[in-house]
Point group: C2
Chain length 303, copies 2
Amino acid sequence: MIYNRVALIGLGLIAGSMAYAIKRANLAKEIVGTARSAETRDTVRRLGFCDRVTDTAAEAVKDADLVVLAVPVGAMAAIAKDIAPHLAPGATVTDVGSVKRDVINAVGPFLSDAVDFVPCHPIAGTEHSGPDSGFAELFENRWTILTPIASTTAEATQKLRALWEGMGANVDEMDPDHHDLVLAVTSHCPHLIAYTMVGVADDLQRVNDTEVIKYSAAGFRDFTRIAASDPTMWRDVFLSNKEATLEILGRFTEELFALQRAIRTGDGDHLFDYFTRTRAIRRGIVEAGQDTDAPDFGRGTKR
Amino acid sequence: MIYNRVALIGLGLIAGSMAYAIKRANLAKEIVGTARSAETRDTVRRLGFCDRVTDTAAEAVKDADLVVLAVPVGAMAAIAKDIAPHLAPGATVTDVGSVKRDVINAVGPFLSDAVDFVPCHPIAGTEHSGPDSGFAELFENRWTILTPIASTTAEATQKLRALWEGMGANVDEMDPDHHDLVLAVTSHCPHLIAYTMVGVADDLQRVNDTEVIKYSAAGFRDFTRIAASDPTMWRDVFLSNKEATLEILGRFTEELFALQRAIRTGDGDHLFDYFTRTRAIRRGIVEAGQDTDAPDFGRGTKR
C-alpha cells in the first residue's frame, strides 16, 4: 500500500489503466475518480474501476494523498486552478501529460508550498481512448518518465516511482525540456506525419477510399493506427510542445527533400544507404523488449 | 492442380510464402526455384519448400508452365532477358513487383508472342526478408492485383487468378498506371516517410539512440517496423515509381506545411478537425478485415 487515497482527474485510457493496475497490485487503499462528462462518470460507475466517482474535481481530491491529472494538456491549468484550494496539505500532485514544460508552467503557479508536484509521463498508450479502453497491463515493461522540478521533495518522487514500478513500469527521471525534445522525436512528429499521410490519402480524388482501405496492408495501415489517436489530446500536444515539434519537423523535411531529390535524380546509392541504416534501430527496439519481432506484429500470421 | 510446374525466380519472403501456400493447397505438381546467391539456394535446399533448386534461372524455367519473377524490380529486365530463350511455348510469366508500369516496360520486350505475361502484385509482406522469412498464411485475406496488358489472354489471367485465390488471396484487376498511383499512396510514400523519420531520429545528437529505443512505444516503433524492410527492394520501388511517388510526396509536404503552420500560429481548430477526419479511415480498414482492432496491434496486451 503506497498511497491511502488516489484521485484520478479525467477517466480515459491512462487513468483507467492506472486504476486497474493499482488495484491489481494493491497499491492504494481507495481510488476516487471524476470526469467532466456525466456520460463518462456513469460509464466508470458501471465498470467499477473506481471505488467512488464524484461529480466534481474538488470533491475527488478531498483528503487524497495522490492526485493524478489525466486530462488533455490544454485542460491542465483550469483543473489545477479548480482543485488547488481543496488539496490536502502534504498531498502529491502528478500528471500524465505527453508534454512536460508546458504542463509545469500551467499547473505549477496554482500549487501551494504545502503540496508536492511531480510531473510525469507514462510512455504507453493504444489507439483507443475513453473510459472503457483501459487495462491493467498497459504499463508493463514500458517506460514512465518523471520530471521533478526544483521544489519537488525527493520523498514524493520516490513514492511516485514506487507506484509506477508497482504497476509494472520502468521509471526514469529527466529534465523537462529534454523530455519534450525526446518525445518530439519518438512520438509527436511521428504522430503528425502519420496524421498527414492519412489525410492525404483521404483527400485524393483519383484514389478512392475503398482502394485505400483494401490495399492498406502494404504499409499505410500502420500509419492509420497512429492517426486514430484521440484528436483533443493530440491537438494539445502540438500546441504545447510547439518549439521542439517544429524543430524536429524542420529536420524531417530537410531529410525528406534529400531523399526526394535522390529519387528524382535516380541516386540509388543514397537511397540504399539510407534504408540500410534505419534497420539497425529496429533491431535495438526489439532487443530492448519495446516491440515484438513477430512478422507484421503477428497480425493473423501463424508461424 | 492448376499448374504442372511452377518456377520461382528469386527466393525471398514472397516466393517462399508462395511455395508454402501452393504446397498446402496442392495447386501445382512441382515447384522449382532458383536464386542468384549460392547461400540462398543452399538455405532453400535445406528448408525444402522447393522440390528442386537449380543453379541458373535458365534451368529453372525449363518446361515450367508458370514462371514467377520474384526479384527486386530493378533486376527484372536482366532476368527476363536471361530466361526468354528457355521459356516453354504457352507458358505464363508473372511477377510480384510492387510497381507495374516499369516492370511491364522492362520485361515485356523480351517475351515472345508464344508466352503470356500477367503482371501481378500481392499486397502482403512483413518487415522480414530472405529465404527463411516465408510462411503459407502470408496472403490470406490480403489483396493481389493483376494488371494484364493488351496481349495477355483471358485464359492466362484466369488461371493465375485461380492460383492466388487458392493461396487464400482476394484478387482484383487494375490498369497498371492506376495501380502505381494507388500504391504510391498506400505503400510507397508511407515507406519513404517512415524511413525518413527513423533516419532523423538516428541522426540527432542531443537525443541518443538509447533514448530513441527506450521511449519508442509512443508512436515511433510503428515507423521502425516499416523502415526495417528490405533496402534493395525499396530502392528499386522508388526509382521505378518515380512519377507517382514524387506527386504524392508533393501533396504530403503541402499538407504537412499546412499543419506545421497551424502549430506555429496556434490554430487548434485546424489540427482538431484534421485529426478527427483521419479516424474514419482506420475504422474502414478494421471493418474490411485488413487490420486487427486489438489495441496496439495486441502487442502483449491481454484484454
